[in-house]
Symmetry: C2
Subunit: 140 residues, 2 copies
């Protein structure tokens, strides 16, 4: 474990940077990606700082992924998605931007033109709050 | 849980279809993807048949993902990769082909031209065995 004072996800975990939080438990937390590939694009993040999946203790990673079924159910239900991609970019070469392990949950709809082209976008004002509330309902 | 007699991954789990198996425990197993996106492209699969992540019991999914750190370490070490993508395509719209939950581990190298274009390939004869052996060493 290496806590880094300049890691944006460590700061989000600590509440020092605001986020559209979806849930939180002792090990991990989840929030809307600020640059969504699709509406409801969500991140699931272990609170402790590890750069690579290779470094995460297996019991901690297991407990983090235990949140995935209900997160997938909630995100797809809230967005009326027909499926989703779950993705971890591990390493800069693989597309990792923030060097703190994070799991993308990307809702998919027919004809969404996403493929794997990563056309990031931004929420119009207020939309993130709506989605946050709707997904939160599915997690209760 | 729905066992399906015509599911290719259920048949691989049962040993009815051969595979380049990397490891196996009570809950899950891992083997080389037969249509690799990169050398060492590996699948991690729960033995029980579920079509979607949304349907997998969270404790089973957690135990399955506990294998990921050592799998990532072993696959990247064996392929000398600089990183990897971990990906689940959940639902046909998301690119899921085999309707049995499976986790891709795709080694990445600088200049590999992969991006997210999914240029699948095939191993030349004997190469899959070599990689299987090398990754297996890292898992011991």
């Amino acid at each position: 474990m290496t806590e880094t004072t300049d890691c944006v996800f460590c700061k989000i975990a600590a509440g020092q940077i605001p986020s559209h939080r979806l849930f939180e438990d002792a090990d991990c937390f989840s929030f809307l990606d600020i640059s969504p590939l699709a509406e409801g694009h969500t991140l699931l993040v272990p609170k402790r700082h590890f750069q690579s999946l290779a470094d995460v203790p297996e019991d901690l990673l297991g407990r983090t992924f235990m949140a995935l079924p209900r997160l997938v159910r909630a995100v797809t239900a809230a967005t009326e998605a027909e499926g989703c991609n779950v993705l971890v970019n591990d390493g800069r070469v693989a597309g990792q931007v923030v060097p703190h392990v994070h799991i993308h949950v990307i809702p998919r709809l027919k004809g969404d033109s996403l493929g794997y082209r990563w056309n990031t976008g931004a929420y119009p004002e207020g939309r993130a709050e709506e989605l946050c509330a709707r997904i939160g309902q599915g997690l209760q």
